[in-house]
Point group: C2
Chain length 255, copies 2
Amino acid sequence: MPKPARGPTPSLVPRPVEISIRELKTHCMNCSVRELCLPVGVDQDGMRQLDSLVSERMHVKKGDAIYRAGDPFVSLFAIRVGSCKSTVLGEKGYEQVSGYHMMGDIVGLDGIGSGQHGGEAVALEDTEVCVLPFHRLEDLARQVHSLLHNMHRILSREIGRDENVMLMLGSMRAEERLAVFLLGLAKRYRERGYSETEFVLRLTRADIGSYLGLTLETISRLLSRFQASGLLQVQGRVVKLLDLTALKELAGQRF
Amino acid sequence: MPKPARGPTPSLVPRPVEISIRELKTHCMNCSVRELCLPVGVDQDGMRQLDSLVSERMHVKKGDAIYRAGDPFVSLFAIRVGSCKSTVLGEKGYEQVSGYHMMGDIVGLDGIGSGQHGGEAVALEDTEVCVLPFHRLEDLARQVHSLLHNMHRILSREIGRDENVMLMLGSMRAEERLAVFLLGLAKRYRERGYSETEFVLRLTRADIGSYLGLTLETISRLLSRFQASGLLQVQGRVVKLLDLTALKELAGQRF
DNA sequence: GCCGAGTCTTGACATGCGTCAATGAAGACG
DNA sequence: CGTCTTCATTGACGCATGTCAAGACTCGGC
């Protein structure tokens, strides 16, 4: 599964002198997304142990899969830099985008129960993920209280998110869905310290459509219409939200 | 698995003398759904501890809520007998049925992450649930290996289920959705030892419609049409599936 | 055993979004 | 720098499903 690590794996126990930037960067303790990822609230000692469990960091090229449907479930993956989409597969040939994930998100959660991945995760740009062997993570979590708690929070929040998507797919009309989607992106970019009004859509129109249960043509038309009514500005994949209030209105005050 | 025992449940460990029927029945070890619930694979000792943690068993009347939107999250609930529906709430007044749960299912999972319930669970018939205080459950799970594993399996499977619903809502047409829904019910009844071809829909047409992202009229029409083409027989809420093969065909070989 | 509220069925009609198609813009790659 | 492929836009049209409405059935409660 994982690609072989490129360079020498950084040592886990802090070494006396010389610590390379690379070493610093590849530890949870120094990771820029630690506040959004597994280590939230975990103490230094726990974090060190967590670090020692991250045996490997994978570099995934744009378009490559982090895991594929049917792969045996071994590890979870934490996104360090980059982003990916996850998909579910139905047996009739259906395939649907089930999520868009960015820095700090954990992917692969669907595999725990069944022992194999039910869909795939594909990098949308060059991406780096931490590989978290699940068994060892579970073991560690039994000792580190806060880590177990975080695992449960992450699993449960995924359920909550999925249920909101269900609500969207089941009850909302096309323009509401798109508004919710855009505001959701905005919020997540804000949480990560980026502009909430100006960002790049890493998903194609087709992917967005798939995620929202619509066609790519509908997405395209809606974006044009939103632009025409001054809600936003769109140029290819670059979006600038101009009227958050109106968007929220459309989305049903959801944000 | 066994139909709800009428008479006294046969004890598993032959005990010396007098144990009341009620006592026997209200222990995980003797529960008719233990193979579908939290205790799967948990050893006797673990199960005893699990039992001692179930401080309370709630009797919920038809139409009453097990928990409501906004309730602080304290416990999970395991359904012992009966069934319920769960709903998600959107802020624009949207409400959608997000699940149908029967014996052995655990409900309330959405609350773990946020600390409060995002929707409600309403009993569809007189129902009995085991109350599982989550903090104590987490504590116990840290000691009982298999229990932690089950918790994770249950959480992950919920994610998988939700993703399949997303797939359904996003990609399938009305008749496919209904076929998938009916076959899903059939499978779950079979797993619980009931007939997979003949059962009672505990959900109203409106609830089914809400769950499937359709209107109650569409559900009604589809059921009539399925009946007309000999796929099933329907009389109010009693359904008899006549042609599983054809239904599976419709559902895309999903079962 | 009857009444009333909730549930279900069926029809007629409206419409939002999908489908098909043609063209244009933008990245990727040598 | 140009060519190829993927991605995006826009229009015309049709259909699946929603909406509205009227009436029938069912079941719990008195």
